[in-house]
């Protein structure tokens, strides 16, 4: 049983690993073959070297960014959920408020950075705010879609039992929306990482601390491209970790929603 699970685990992990190895080899090949300069596109060895040299710095920065991104993601998940609930309860609210949600989605952070800093301040809070703004919309859109796409038959069932609006929401719409919410979370968790990085461009953490956003700006300005790519790799790593966590949660939860006969 455990053995079996282990081998199955290997079967799941091995092919993507293999594929990654191929990608890295191809990357190395291209960089070597076309003699691409490291300041433009560093080869995998260059990036690896940068990682090894700057590992403590990268880890520290990634930890700080992860913290902000996680907070931003959780905030966007909860707020987005509440907004979606509001939208699902009132077409009027939906029609009236959607434009403002789109405003948040389409506003360049640089334009509202002074306001964010003024109202929320520099440091972690500001970074979290940016991460939140950037990762909010997918939660709203997907959760709203999930909450409003309930089968009419099930709505009838609840109407027959004179369920209150609240009961329809809690016992029907929300459970029905769970898969859609998880899809929204999959999108938002990556956005929360890039949001935290962008937030660091504008808000920072203070004099001594810094996250991946700082490293990215710095290494980019100084044309330290291998180091830049190492930082980007860490940001993608964060995205992957977040994504995997959401995916693991999904597959656990969704068993209940659409589990299949494994035969």
């Amino acid at each position: 049983m455990t053995r079996n699970r282990l081998t199955r685990g290997a079967g799941i992990v091995a092919p993507p690993m293999l594929f990654s190895v191929l990608v890295v080899l191809a990357w190395h090949g291209v960089v070597t073959l076309f003699d691409i300069r490291p300041y433009l596109l560093p080869g995998p060895m260059d990036v690896l070297h940068a990682v090894s040299v700057h590992l403590p710095t990268l880890i520290g920065a990634a930890a700080l960014t992860a913290q902000a991104a996680l907070a931003g993601f959780l905030l966007s998940f909860f707020v987005g959920f509440l907004v979606a609930v509001l939208f699902s309860q009132s077409r009027l609210a939906e029609r009236s408020l959607y434009p403002y949600a789109i405003f948040l989605q389409t506003v360049p952070i640089v334009a509202i950075a002074p306001l964010i800093v003024l109202w929320i301040g520099h440091g972690l809070a500001g970074v979290v705010a940016v991460s939140f703004i950037i990762s909010l919309f997918p939660i709203i859109a997907n959760t709203t879609a999930g909450l409003t796409s309930v089968d009419t038959e099930l709505l009838d069932l609840f109407a027959l039992n004179e369920a209150s609006r609240w009961q329809v929401l809690i016992k029907l719409r929300v459970p029905h929306a769970v898969p859609a919410m998880l899809t929204g979370a999959r999108i938002s968790c990556g956005l929360s990482v890039i949001g935290a990085i962008v937030g660091e461009f504008f808000a920072g953490y203070g004099t001594q601390d810094f996250g991946l956003g700082y490293l990215i700006i710095l290494t980019n300005a100084q044309t330290k491209t291998p180091y830049l790519f190492a930082s980007v790799l860490f940001s993608t790593g964060l995205g992957l970790i977040f994504f995997s966590a959401v995916a693991a949660l999904s597959s656990k939860t969704l068993d209940r929603w659409g589990g299949r006969d494994v035969n």
Partner: protein
């Protein structure tokens, strides 16, 4: 001479090259636009297409990969590029004095960068000077926050200071009623040449006549621009309508002092010296922006094309 510039053999005898700016067109690019507008490049049988930049414009990479023949960056950018292995060479450096400054409220009474304390300082992590300053000065009780291009936070807070270009942020801040004072970074001794014309080693080696033509015409352009900037400013304004004539005019005023220092008066606009490159490399080493052995000072620049002063 001009004849040699035809070497690339375009049918009409004109060589076409591109020049990538490091920002949207503004006063710090004035000399190059003047050369273009007044036909100085064309007189040398070179047609220069000037490409505007933006906040994240990758100028060094574009030059290094040959997408454009020429570009503009600051001297510290050249050193960064060389440290990364990009064969970039500085050819011509109009700004002898770097226009970088720190803007403070006059009410703080601060008159020198060394005195910065008890305030919030918006400093981009991009340019080398910010690392130099932070290494060099104690900055007691100064909170360093990112800088993102707007003077709004400065207007809101007496104890707020920020980086800037002497002809941009202080002007904007004053126009909005603030008592802005510009403290020149160059006064601290960290003074990289600015708006430096760059090309690759290959271009310099294989097309010396072209390079000479462009440098010469640019030099003439700068001289012309500082003398009578109006036409050029109008041209810049037409390309970058959000850059108004007033700011451009102020920019020229301030640029005169930064471009035409004693050295330039003696040696001609755009002159560079080994000592200053050497000093800059040492300062960047001190700021830990580059590492020892990464950069050979001599390779950063070429004085070859500055030898003859421009014809008037």
């Amino acid at each position: 001479g001009p004849q040699e510039a035809v070497e690339d053999g375009a049918p009409d005898g004109i060589t076409r090259v591109k020049l990538a700016l490091n920002w949207f067109p503004e006063a710090q690019h004035g000399g190059y636009y003047a050369a273009q507008l007044h036909g100085y490049y064309l007189e040398q049988h070179v047609e220069v297409e000037i490409l505007g930049g933006g906040p994240d414009a990758p100028v060094v990479q574009r030059v290094a990969t040959g997408q454009v023949e020429f570009g503009l960056t600051n001297a510290d950018g050249v050193i960064n590029a060389r440290a990364a292995g990009a064969p970039i060479v500085a050819l011509f450096a109009p700004y002898q004095i770097n226009p970088r400054c720190i803007v403070v409220h006059e009410s703080t009474g601060i008159t020198r960068i060394e005195q910065l304390e008890d305030l919030t300082l918006a400093l981009s992590q991009r340019p080398a000077f910010s690392h130099f300053l932070r290494k060099r000065f104690p900055f007691r009780n100064v909170t360093v926050v990112p800088y993102h291009g707007s003077v709004t936070p400065f207007l809101e807070d007496e104890r707020f200071a920020m980086q800037g270009y002497v002809f941009s942020e202080p002007v904007v801040a004053r126009r909005l009623g603030a008592d802005a004072r510009a403290l020149m970074v160059a006064d601290t001794g960290f003074n990289p040449y600015a708006s430096v014309l760059i090309a690759t080693e290959t271009t310099v080696r294989e097309h010396p006549a072209l390079v000479a033509a462009v440098v010469g015409a640019s030099r003439r352009g700068w001289s012309q621009y500082l003398d009578s900037p109006l036409a050029t400013n109008q041209h810049i304004h037409s390309l970058n309508p959000e850059m108004d004539m007033e700011i451009l005019a102020a920019g020229v005023e301030l640029s005169r002092d930064l471009v035409l220092d004693e050295v330039a008066a003696a040696e001609g606009i755009g002159h560079m010296s080994r000592q200053r490159w050497q000093l800059l490399v040492e300062q960047m080493l001190e700021a830990e922006v580059i590492e020892a052995g990464q950069v050979q000072v001599e390779q950063c620049y070429s004085l070859e094309f500055l030898a003859t002063p421009p014809s008037p």
